[in-house]
Symmetry: C2
Subunit: 336 residues, 2 copies
DNA sequence: CTGAAAGCGCTTACAG
DNA sequence: CTGAAAGCGCTTACAG
């Protein structure tokens, strides 16, 4: 492998001059610059990343840390990973993806060894064990999700309260008076998936304000529990004319479950889901949905992180931003 | 951040001694070792990754390069990413995940700058443009998938020929004489997804040997084309008693598509799919399947790559290994 | 059993 | 407009 010294020798200049051509931090005469660029081309020179990192204390790598819960609906995860990766690259960063079972340890290891310039945390929980090592770290971090104590970190998440209100309002406008809500499984709430109660509580409150009867039930993430929880929920409110599903695994299986029960949408039951456009497409879901916008969250988060890395001081106080959901009417609700 | 010099000073030894305690490449007296370890603990010292990489020419990072095709069924991808990540970590490597649209360029950039010690290529095509920069690279690479000219690279893939024979044999044993095969879309074959024709050709050949009539049709990856292609395939062979589906997007939507058409499985139609256990679970697929084993492929590939990195010379000639599919009988086929 | 020193390949103040 | 030199934080032959 050619080094900067080889290039310098070939071009008849000093190593510093080559370095300045590379960085553009100095004006170099056109002629010299040309000679150097020719030498770079000829030798196929690429600066050594480790050496550069050592000299600059910057790696141009971001760390993405995520855990795959046994009980989680995996297909939903990729929608968050991709935009983070794409945006990182667009901003000039590569991405270290870490799925170590001991994520807190992995964060400690990779930040303190300066493998990464910044940290992206996915699927953040209310009391997230990963925040502690992050506070010790010198690198800035951004959270996708919502933690109780996010002090010091930029956070981005969907406004699940608003999502719930949008779903309830949509049904209220169509005259529905009894609604069943299927939430994520209880264990998701237990481990601190705040979107569970943020959505549920807002839905309950909004329904009450409309004078609507809303019955909330935890769904499941596996078969056959998914079907059982759906039955339980529907049985609990026999007069329900609408169903709000805030549960990936359930909504993915819903078309078949309803078919099997002979329930037609929207004739027998209006349905509103909570999922992204991509998710709806992958599973060919025919339901009107409040959209979760993972692309936008990933983009915003990475852009903010990069801003902090570039200028830690002037980037201002940490931002906690809840973004407004989208809405995609697929005609699965009717007026009653 | 504490450096190795800080630790050395605190422990009253030289930097080299600290380094040797870290690497274990020298016997250090118990007493000295203890003092050093205490200092490391006290100062919270972690070796700087860049400095270490510069000194050793090793980063302990593997690169995973994947492209998300517009027309691809994304949910299937994650099953390959996860085992690669998990196995890498278990082998002591972190993982750089690269999704640059210009993957060949990204490979060139990350290998020649020595950001990675080895390369994992996912979703390899028959004439894969990523192989060229890989040949220039100093780092070893492993392919998951099948390329025409994989000379010089270790490759792992499912034995799709065997997968096809297993599916056909299974149906043959049950007396089926007319079978429809739904393949991946044509454009997948066009861009070199060799599994398309490896499966199809083997299925056709095997069916012929059994004296079975097999009619192969390209499926689609999007709605509503998926439904149309299914109809076309079934119409083409009205007497068919069985359907083999080698198409992720189609098989994921199949329960509903068949329901809508009033086709009961297995009473009206026997169905055999080609998908992994995890995929079947995520989409609650009730079909007997030839299993694609992404976990095993990821593990084997990374393990082999690590072996090559550790000992480039003695690892022997490149291996091209087609692994035998699994089989999961979910009772979706019957005797006719 | 341990240390002094060279070297990995860059960047960047300092100097001219 | 360009160069000589120090320094980033490690590892490892060389020496004792």
């Amino acid at each position: 492998m050619a080094t900067i010294g080889d290039v310098a020798r070939a071009a008849g200049v000093s190593r510093s001059t080559v370095s300045y051509v590379l960085s553009g931090k100095r004006v170099i005469s056109a002629e010299t610059k040309e000679r150097i660029e020719a030498a770079i081309e000829l030798l196929g020179f690429t600066p050594n990343a480790g050496a550069r990192a050592l000299a600059t204390s910057r790696t141009n790598v971001l760390g993405l840390y995520l855990q795959f819960q046994e009980d989680e609906f995996a297909p939903a995860m990729l929608q968050y990973i991709l935009p983070v990766s794409t945006t990182s690259r667009a901003e000039g960063y590569d991405l270290l993806m870490v799925t170590d079972p001991d994520l807190a340890g992995a964060i400690r290891r990779t930040t303190s060894s300066h493998m990464v310039d910044g940290v992206v945390l996915l699927d953040v929980t209310y009391h997230d064990a990963r925040l502690e090592p992050l506070r010790q770290a010198q690198q800035p971090a951004v959270l996708i999700g919502y933690a109780q104590d996010s002090a010091g970190f930029d956070s981005f998440d969907l406004d699940f309260g608003e999502a719930a209100r949008m779903a309830v309002d949509h049904l209220a406008e169509r005259g529905h008076r009894e609604i069943v809500l299927l939430t994520p499984p209880d264990h998701v709430a237990t481990r601190g998936g705040s979107y569970v109660w943020r959505f549920r509580d807002a839905a309950i409150e909004r329904a009450a304000r409309h004078g609507i009867r809303l019955s909330a039930h935890p769904g499941a993430s596996r078969h056959p529990e998914i079907a059982e929880s759906l039955d339980r929920a529907l049985d609990a409110l026999p007069g329900a004319t609408a169903l709000i599903v805030h549960n990936d695994a359930t909504v993915a299986a819903l078309p078949r479950l309803l078919d099997e029960r002979g329930i037609r949408v929207p004739q027998d039951l209006s349905v509103v889901g909570v999922f992204s456009q991509g998710f709806g497409q992958a599973f060919s879901l025919p339901y009107t949905a409040v959209e979760s916008l993972p692309d936008r969250l990933g983009e915003l988060a990475v852009a903010q992180l990069v801003r902090r890395i570039a200028d830690p001081s002037s980037a201002g106080a940490p931002v906690v931003r809840l973004i407004e959901p989208g809405f995609f009417d697929r005609g699965s609700t009717r007026a009653v």
